[in-house]
Each structure stands twice: as structure tokens, then as C-alpha cells.
């Protein structure tokens, strides 16, 4: 009668485990299971309580209860009638599973309980039916033990079933985030369709307060969006044209139109659900150990029970047989490792589900366990500590001293703002990342960018434009020379430009109507909460290392700003993994934080790889733990949660094994020779049920985890001296001397390096050792984040944008001087 369900799965788990119906199905079965368990438990409790109460406390109840009632309930035949349904109806699942497991030669906890209750029941049956064959002092039945053990066991199972249903809830909470409806524009009409029917390329319309149905790219409108359900970041994010948006996030007050780029199972939310599901079924190494132990546990306990009986038989007081049997049964029952089976999985499921709500995606239980042991955190600079995109950081006007920056007198402000507008107007038409950064920076200062009357992009130089009737030049030295700009203030400007370059920024000159007026600096900027997160990590006793391709001076400046302990400077991208290994060889357990795509080898080399996800582009596959919000505070949460979870698991295993470790010798009667203390099988059963209960309650404490409330336990604030060192790369350049743009150390020879120094963009020559210069525009870029790269004469050159690469490809000689 079996019908075949064809379900397939691939070894990587890319199967259909993420779809929603699969989530509903097991829960329904669990609920049914809970219902039956409850029914069996009620029967067991109702029938056991009177037998238990009168058997245990009969003599104390004489004052309140007529003697006849007590006599009735302590009659062995009456007890037999009460307890038999408990044994066979309520205890059915326990016996069935237990005996079948024994037949399968894979005994587990139910086997122990089945053995124990069966022994008690058969013994009591003999007492009831044929007391004559037993010595007078051994004619006491143990029906109440049978009933109590089964009742408590069922209670424990019910707790467990509820707990498991509860952890299914963390998945359900995520599934419930799945959007239901979508408004899309198709064929000029706006349709209201099911969110599951949105296709890639559809234009989705979002009104105020609505939930976004799928992932996509904004094409129109702007609004602030609450992404907390995905990133854990409570601050809404402003989205405008060109920004990526994520399904399941909630729109604020604006209206948006966006083009769907990922739908169905490809959305960030679907991937998160899949990931959490896989993580929850994975096993922590600590659990594999527990599994191995429990495999030996059951046969071991049966052996102990047999020899307990033998020792009582040989050495015990009369009646030896009874004492022996009671002790053997007590051993079987108390040894039940029921709590062991749930000790680890329960904590793992709760904490991975919890982590997902804070924007921390833990890939496996192993990652959760390993993250706890990490003592050194390596942070990649670009994209991890910093935003990874260029921004306009400084504006220095000709005539001002370099440090004065923008703080000069207000009388000039109006004219300067007007000039900034002109600059933005000139740059507006350029697709170059530097130009875009400048336009954005000017807009952020509340200024408008007027439309340019004419515009000319000068490859390798900058732009020349006419804005509001004025000639505006924005670019490098070469451009200024070509256009015969009056360099009156050039000394001043060159000093400032040199300063910027030394700080790792890209200086850009501006001339208006043939006169040099300003130097702008564009650079990658530090994320606002990086310093705070780094301080929190150090507070937790972690060594924080920054890995960067910058030279020592630049790296030191950054290190001072964010407060890391140790800086490894001048590391080429391909050497990052080697630096991780070097730290591991120093005896550290290393967690590497980097951007998931470009740092993949380093992330893989580290004990735990943390990938910075950028909301829509979740590089889940490449790391052990993904920080969806992109903020380093997620790392702190991940570490805190890992520590809390592992602490919890150890406590659970302590509870599970602790009861057994103490209980077995006592049950065997080790205290008897000294104090005549024995463990009644019933007390043993209660202790066993209590161990399950403690584990469930303890694991549930993790639900209350709040990253903000974590107080680091270790205040070992070792005042480490800030320590800057160079990466151990072959061919690492001496500070201040640029290495060519080669990515391969063996290709770098002095000749090539010299040739590079002769390029037109001399101002940048002090910038980083492995940060390389785009030979076309002179922008300082990190090869790993480069938009394009080209091979020429055995050298690899990196470019900030495809535009620069195209220009280079057209005529390399022009840019290589």
C-alpha cells in the first residue's frame, strides 16, 4: 500500500528543502504526535497517581482517609488493574521503539526504560500471583514504579516534542516573512498578482508601507526601507534609483518602482531559509562525540546492571535476589540517556534560528562550535572595515593651507559652493567611479549639479566641460598641463595632493576658467560602527588584526582610527590566505572576515570564515558565517551567540551525563555499605525525567539571547601594543616605493617597476604597496576590487572601471609612458 514519493536531493543540499510546503508537513505530523502523546500521558497520570500516592504515603494518610480506601488501593490486584493499561497503552511507544531498537542491535534510551519497566512489572506480577515462591520480606510489588517511570518518560517526550516544534517555529517565522502579493506592471497595465508569480524583469510597484515581494534594482522613486528582518539592522536604509532592494523588507513612506532581479528560490530570503534549515540539521563535532559515547553507553549499562545483580547476590544482605533485582532495575532506569539525544541539537537549532534574526547566517553547527574558540580575528580592510566604495572625503581650496580643509571663513562659502556645483556639473556626465563619488559627495552637501553645456572625457586625464558658461577641468596633473592651466598656486596644491596620496586617498585637481582652484580627495571611508565593533571584540579578549595591501604608514593611520591591535600591511591579495596560515602557525585560532567573493581563499584557510554580505548579494556559499548587514557588529553578535550556545550545550551535556554519572553508582548500591542508602527505581525514574526537563529548560534560555545585553565575561583587556608589520610576501616592496601593477610576484622585476614610476600620475607614487594605480585615471585601487584587469607585456594591470580598461586596451602605450 505504499505510494512512492519521488524526491531527489543533491549532495550539496541544493534540493527542494527550502520550499514552503515541506516546512508545513513535518509540523503537522509533530502536532499529531503531540496529541497522541498527551492522550497517553493523561491515561498514565490518572491511573498512576492513586497507586503511587497510597503506596508511598499510605501510612501518613491514615488520619484523613478511611482504612478501607487505603487497603483497596494497596491491594496488589487493584494495582495490577490500574497499572496494566499504563504499561501497555501509555507505554506502547516506549516499548515498541525500545525493543525494536534492541532487535536492531542499536539500543537507545527507550530500550533501557523498556527493560527496566518490564523487569519491575514481571517481578510485581510474580509477587501478586504467587507470593509464596518469594521470601516474606520480598513480597512487595513495584507497580507504582512502573506507572511513575512511564508517566515521567512520557512527560519528558512531550517536552521534547514541544521543544522541537518550537524550533521549527524559527524557520516558520522566516517563512512567514515571505511576501504574499505583488503589484507588477506588465504590458502597460498594473496587475495585482501572487508574489510567487513575479518573474525576473518584471517592474514591481511598491506603495508606502508595503512589503517588497522579490529582490530587484530600483529604477524609479526613492524611499527609506526597513531591512531589519534581513539584516538585523534597525535603522531604515534610503533607496533610490540604481540601488538594490531585497524582498520581504518593508517600504517606508515613499513610492518605488523596481525591476525584479531575483525571484522564487533565488531571493535572499529563500536562501536564508535554506541555509538556516541546513544548519539546523547539521551536527556539531561535539555531538558526534556524544553519539559515539551513547553507542557504548547502552551495552555498558546493561553490563553494569547484570554485575550489580551478581554482586548483590554474592555480598548483599538477604533477600539477595530482591535487592539485586531492585538495584539492577534502578541502574537500567536511571542510566537512560534521554536528555543526551536532545542536548546538542536543541541548542544548535535555537541559536542558528536566533542568529538569522540578527542578520547572522550560520552555515553549520560546526561553524557555530568553532567560532567560539576563535582568539584572533583578521579583518580585511577594504569592504570590511571600510565601505569599499570611493567617497569624496576632502576639499582643499587653493590658497588655504592643507590642513584647514573646508573650515575656512564663511564669506567664501557661497562662491565655493557655487564652484562645487560647477565641478559636480562637469563630472555628472562621466561614468567614472571617481566622478560619481564626487557628484554624490557634492549632492550630499546639499548642492545641485547643473547640467553641463558641453562635456569631454579625457581618457587617462579626467573631464573637461563647460558648465554655466565656465570652463571646468577636473582631473590629474597631466590634464592640467595639457590644458595650460595656470599653476600659480601649484606648490601649495602639490603639497596638499601629496598629503592626500600619503593617506591613501586619490587627489583630483580642479581648474575653473584656466585657474587651479582646488584639490579634492576621494577615498574609501570607514564604516560608522567599525571602531565600536572592534572595541567590542577586544573587550571579549580577541586579538584584532587588520590585513591590508596599503603601505605601513597608511595602514598605521587606519589602525589608529579604528583601534586594531595588529596590522599586517603590504599584503597582496593572493597572499592573504598565506598570512592566515602564518597566524595559525603562531598558535592562533583565526576567524577571517572578508568580502565573500574576493577573499574566498583566505576565508577558506581560516578556521572560521565570515563573509560580509551586502544585503542583496549574499555570498552565502563561500563562508562559514555570513554577516548580512555588512556591519562588523554582526561579527560581535556571531561570536557572542557562539559562546552562549556552546556554553549552553556543555551545560546540557553536563545535565545529561551528570545525572547518569552520579545516578548509576548510587542505583547500583554503592552507598549501601556505608549508609544503607538505596535508590528506589521510582526516584531513579524521577531523576531521569528531571534531567530531560533541565536540558529543555536550559536550551530555551538561548531564546532570550539579546546581543545588546551581552556582557563580555572575559575582561582580559590585554593592553597590546599596536603593532604594524609587513606581510611576508615575496617581493614585498620597501615602503614608499610602488610595486608595479603586477599581480604575480615572479613577474615583477626592477625594470618594470621603474617603468611604472615614470607614468604621468606621480602624485600617487607613495600610496600602497599592493594597492595599485589604475594606469589610465590614476585612481588608487585594490586589485581585488578592481572592475577589470588586462594583461599587457606579461604584466597585469587593474582598472577602476570598464571604461578605463577599454581606453587602455585601445592604446596601452599611451598610458604606460
Amino acid at each position: 500500500m505504499s505510494q512512492v514519493r519521488n524526491q531527489t536531493a543533491t549532495p550539496t543540499g541544493n534540493g527542494d528543502s527550502a520550499n514552503v510546503p515541506a516546512a508545513a508537513d513535518p509540523d503537522a505530523e509533530r502536532k499529531r504526535e503531540i496529541k497522541t502523546l498527551e492522550r497517553r500521558l493523561i491515561v498514565a497520570a490518572v491511573l498512576t497517581v492513586p497507586v503511587f500516592v497510597f503506596a508511598m504515603f499510605g501510612m501518613w494518610l491514615k488520619a484523613f482517609v478511611p482504612m478501607g480506601v487505603i487497603g483497596f488501593f494497596t491491594n496488589p490486584w487493584v494495582e495490577l488493574v490500574f497499572v496494566t493499561p499504563v504499561m501497555f497503552y501509555s507505554g506502547w511507544p516506549i516499548h515498541r521503539t525500545g525493543w525494536l531498537a534492541l532487535v536492531h542491535r542499536a539500543p537507545e534510551m527507550n530500550s533501557l526504560v523498556a527493560l527496566g519497566t518490564a523487569a519491575s512489572y514481571v517481578y510485581s506480577l510474580v509477587v501478586t500471583a504467587a507470593p509464596g515462591i518469594l521470601p516474606p520480606s520480598a513480597r512487595e510489588p513495584y507497580y507504582e514504579s512502573v506507572g511513575t517511570i512511564i508517566t515521567l518518560m512520557l512527560l519528558g517526550q512531550l517536552f521534547e516534542a514541544h521543544a522541537r516544534l518550537g524550533t521549527g517555529e524559527s524557520i516558520r517565522a522566516l517563512v512567514n516573512l515571505t511576501p504574499k502579493r505583488a503589484h507588477v506592471e506588465r504590458g502597460g497595465r498594473q496587475l495585482d498578482i501572487d508574489a510567487g508569480q513575479v518573474e525576473v524583469g518584471d517592474i514591481v510597484v511598491i506603495r508606502p508601507g508595503e512589503q517588497l515581494p522579490v529582490d530587484g534594482e530600483v529604477i524609479d522613486g526613492s524611499s527609506s526601507i526597513d531591512e531589519s528582518m534581513i539584516t538585523g539592522e534597525s535603522m531604515p536604509v534610503t533607496k533610490a534609483k540604481g540601488d538594490m532592494v531585497t524582498g520581504a523588507t518593508i517600504n517606508g513612506n515613499g513610492t518605488l518602482r523596481y525591476r525584479a532581479t531575483k525571484v522564487g528560490r533565488d531571493t535572499v530570503l529563500a536562501q536564508i531559509i535554506k541555509l538556516v534549515r541546513t544548519a539546523q540539521t547539521s551536527k556539531a563535532p561535539i555531538q558526534k562525540l556524544a553519539d559515539r559515547i551513547s553507542g557504548y553507553f547502552v551495552p555498558g549499562v546493561i553490563l553494569i546492571a547484570i554485575w550489580t545483580f551478581v554482586i548483590w547476590w554474592l555480598l548483599g544482605p538477604a533477600p539477595q535476589g530482591l535487592y539485586g533485582l531492585v538495584s539492577a532495575v534502578a541502574v537500567l532506569v536511571i542510566a537512560c540517556p534521554c536528555a543526551l539525544g536532545i542536548a546538542t541539537p536543541l541548542s544548535v537549532t535555537i541559536s542558528t534560528g536566533k542568529a538569522a534574526r540578527f542578520g547572522v547566517l550560520i552555515r553549520s553547527a560546526e561553524a557555530l562550535q568553532t567560532a567560539r574558540g576563535v582568539d584572533t580575528v583578521v579583518l580585511d580592510k577594504t569592504g570590511t572595515i571600510t565601505r569599499g566604495t570611493p567617497e569624496l572625503t576632502d576639499v582643499s581650496w587653493a590658497g588655504d593651507s592643507a590642513d584647514a580643509g573646508e573650515t575656512s571663513g564663511s564669506s567664501d562659502d557661497a562662491s565655493r559652493n557655487a564652484m562645487l556645483s560647477l565641478i559636480a556639473g562637469a563630472e555628472q556626465a562621466s561614468e567614472h567611479p571617481l566622478a560619481q563619488a564626487i557628484v554624490k559627495g557634492v549632492r550630499q552637501r546639499g548642492l545641485e549639479a547643473p547640467k553641463a553645456d558641453s562635456f569631454e572625457a579625457v581618457p587617462g586625464g579626467g573631464v573637461a566641460a563647460k558648465v554655466d558658461g565656465r570652463d571646468v577641468l577636473v582631473g590629474n596633473n597631466g590634464l592640467m598641463d595639457d590644458r595650460h592651466v595656470d599653476m600659480k598656486a601649484s606648490d601649495d596644491v602639490e603639497t596638499t595632493a601629496g598629503d592626500y596620496a600619503r593617506q591613501g586617498k586619490t587627489p583630483i585637481l580642479v581648474a575653473i576658467d584656466g585657474t587651479l582652484v582646488a584639490v579634492l580627495a576621494v577615498a574609501d571611508t570607514v564604516k560608522p560602527d567599525s571602531a565600536k565593533a572592534i572595541a567590542a571584540l577586544r573587550e571579549r579578549g580577541l586579538q584584532v588584526v587588520m590585513l591590508t595591501g596599503d603601505n605601513e604608514t597608511t595602514a598605521k593611520a587606519m589602525a589608529d582610527q579604528v583601534g586594531v591591535d595588529r596590522v599586517i600591511a603590504g599584503v597582496r591579495p593572493e597572499r592573504k590566505a598565506a598570512e592566515i596560515v602564518r597566524l595559525q602557525n603562531e598558535g592562533h585560532m583565526v576567524g577571517m572576515v572578508g568580502d565573500g567573493i574576493n577573499d574566498a581563499p583566505a576565508l577558506a584557510a581560516a578556521d572560521v570564515g565570515f563573509a560580509i554580505g551586502t544585503g542583496t548579494d549574499v555570498a552565502i556559499e563561500s563562508s562559514d558565517i555570513t554577516l548580512v548587514s555588512g556591519s562588523l557588529t554582526g561579527l560581535v553578535t556571531a561570536i557572542d551567540l557562539s559562546r552562549a550556545a556552546m556554553r549552553n550545550i556543555k551545560q546540557n551535556l553536563g545535565f545529561a551525563f551528570g545525572y547518569n554519572g552520579i545516578g548509576i553508582p548510587i542505583a547500583a548500591g554503592i552507598l549501601y555499605p556505608l549508609w544503607h542508602i538505596m535508590l528506589n527505581p521510582m526516584i531513579a525514574g524521577a531523576a531521569m525525567a528531571f534531567s530531560s526537563l533541565s536540558v529543555v529548560l536550559n536550551a530555551n534560555r538561548l531564546r532570550g539571547f539579546d546581543p545588546k545585553a551581552v556582557r563580555p565575561r572575559r575582561f582580559a583587556f590585554k593592553p597590546r601594543e599596536r603593532h604594524v608589520e609587513l606581510g611576508e610576501a615575496e617581493g614585498t616592496a620597501a615602503p614608499g616605493k610602488p610595486v608595479g601593477a603586477s599581480s604575480d610576484a615572479s613577474d615583477t622585476n626592477n625594470h618594470n617597476a621603474k617603468a611604472k614610476e615614470g607614468t604621468t600620475m606621480d602624485m600617487n607614487m607613495n600610496a600602497g604597496a599592493s594597492t595599485v594605480k589604475d594606469p589610465v585615471c590614476g585612481m588608487m585601487i585594490d586589485p581585488k576590487t578592481a572592475a577589470a584587469s588586462l594583461e599587457h607585456d606579461g604584466q597585469t594591470y587593474y582598472f577602476c572601471s570598464q571604461g578605463c580598461a577599454d581606453n587602455f586596451a585601445a592604446d596601452p602605450a599611451k598610458y604606460l609612458g
Partner: protein, 130 residues
């Protein structure tokens, strides 16, 4: 005195029997062939029968879990090394398919981690012991 000796002897025999019963090597079932796919039927009833299945690396494997019971415990089968967690509906046969890439052991368990089974992945072309 004679009774005591008998009890000790019985206990010894029982101990040896228990150790043999639980720790003796298990006979593995060899997965059969259905065209390109190695197939094995595994009965799920208080445990997995056969408990150990031999398969060959590099060829797709289809395990047909025939679940002849209901209840919570065996309602999932979890291959933690493969990241597979499959729901086994009661009284139905559910297929789990994967292709083992390299020789080794692939343990699996029920959702509550109480029932255990094992897939032995043998090198390509190797002969199983069952």
C-alpha cells in the same frame, strides 16, 4: 555455593553475549543496480534494515526508505555530511538520491538522532563484503 557459581557463570555468559550482540561487525547489504543507479531498499521500522549499505563511489545512489511506522522519531532521515534532511511520510516509500564522490562512511540518523544507519562508500570497482 553451587547457586552462586551458577549465577556468576550465567552473568559471564550474558556479558559476552551482549558484547558480541552489540559490537560484532554488521553484515552490509550491497546496493543493487538499476541501470546507472545503485538502489537499496531500507525498511524503517524502529531502526533501519539493512543498517549498513555498501555502495560504490562516483555512481548515483538511490536509497528507497520504506517507512512502515508512524510517530515522531523516524519521521526524518538526516544525512548530516550531505546536508540532506528528508521527511519520510508514514507508510510511504521516499527516495533519497545522491552521488558519493569519494570513498568513506556516510552515517545517517533519524531526526531525533536515535536511529542510526550507515552507507559505506567503497572505491570504484571494489567488491563489497556482503
Amino acid at each position: 555455593m553451587f547457586v552462586n557459581a551458577a549465577v556468576v557463570l550465567a552473568a559471564l555468559v550474558a556479558s559476552v553475549a551482549i558484547i558480541w550482540y552489540f559490537f560484532a561487525p554488521r553484515k552490509a547489504a550491497r546496493a543493487g543496480r538499476e541501470g546507472e543507479v545503485q538502489t537499496a531498499r531500507i525498511v524503517v521500522k524502529g531502526g533501519y534494515t539493512p543498517q549498513v549499505v555498501d555502495v560504490e563511489a562516483g555512481t548515483p545512489v538511490r536509497l528507497r526508505f520504506d517507512r512502515q511506522e508512524d510517530g515522531e522519531c523516524s519521521s526524518h532521515v538526516v544525512f548530516s555530511d550531505l546536508g540532506i534532511d528528508r521527511t519520510l511520510p508514514a507508510f510511504e516509500t521516499t527516495d533519497v538520491e545522491f552521488t558519493p564522490s569519494k570513498p568513506g562512511d556516510l552515517p545517517y540518523a533519524c531526526g531525533m538522532n536515535m536511529l542510526h544507519g550507515m552507507v559505506h562508500v567503497l572505491p570504484k570497482g571494489a567488491k563489497g563484503n556482503g
